[in-house]
Symmetry: C2
Subunit: 153 residues, 2 copies
């Protein structure tokens, strides 16, 4: 059996990443980064980063949602959401109205312009999805979503 000890100093030709590839966290992060990189490029026409898109999409699908609810749903801390919401408002995509039941809270609503943009952006995101998962069959795509949700839900 050959000793792997001090012979000539070895050097690495092909990096062995086999161990890391057994870890869900490693793989999930790499996959997320790959998809997000593509998202940033393809959604730049709408001036949406993933976080802007996520916030706008939740407001679009949940008229009257509050900042606190957005924070909980997206794991964003309240101070970090303020600029995001104000940014969407300045772009005319959402409006604020008093919450009917709670004077402390503010309901967030997509404007007609916001609704139009989100319908378009969500369609683009769905197409981007297909491109990002182009090596997956439709069944594999569905399975992947289901298994990922089992991890974090």
């Amino acid at each position: 059996m050959a000793p792997k000890r001090e012979s000539p100093a070895p050097f690495v030709e092909n990096v062995d990443t086999q161990y890391l590839e057994t870890l869900i966290g490693y793989n999930a992060r790499r996959a997320a980064l790959a998809v997000i990189e593509r998202f940033l490029k393809d959604m730049a026409v709408h001036d949406f980063r993933p976080v802007d898109f996520s916030v706008a999409s939740l407001i679009y699908h949940n008229p009257g949602i509050t900042s606190r609810q957005l924070c909980t749903a997206l794991s964003i801390l309240p101070p970090n959401l303020v600029a995001l919401v104000n940014g969407l408002q300045k772009r005319g995509l959402i409006t604020k109205r008093p919450h009917p039941n709670d004077g402390r809270a503010i309901g967030l609503y997509a404007t007609p312009e916001g609704e139009t943009l989100m319908a378009l952006a969500e369609q683009d995101a769905a197409n981007l999805e297909i491109a990002a998962g182009s090596r997956l069959t439709a069944a594999e795509h569905k399975t992947l979503l289901r298994l990922l949700q089992k991890v974090y839900l």
Copy 2:
């Protein structure tokens, strides 16, 4: 003219995240964050964040790997790797030796202490994996890894 009756301002009871849950990027990121959160807690005894662990693990499994190779394998920019490698060296987990073929490069090697710690840490990470994927069967776990790799490889 009777003022147009605004429909009573709605408010959201249960946030609808169905659309976002159709996106690979959203789910992969949520899953990665959930696993990483657990990793941070459980690996604190070894003083390893995910990035420290990944770098140390690749050096452990690839004696003589260079900083440049680590950067490529882990998508880390060279300036951001310097402190990581120096930190592992200061902890006595790795050593630097001249690269046999390239005077510009530096080969990185786990020390005996580093090898002992990594064997332990990788075992802990594997156990953590099982806990993080506790809602997955062994077959689902294997499928998840395979599908994630199809997305980013």
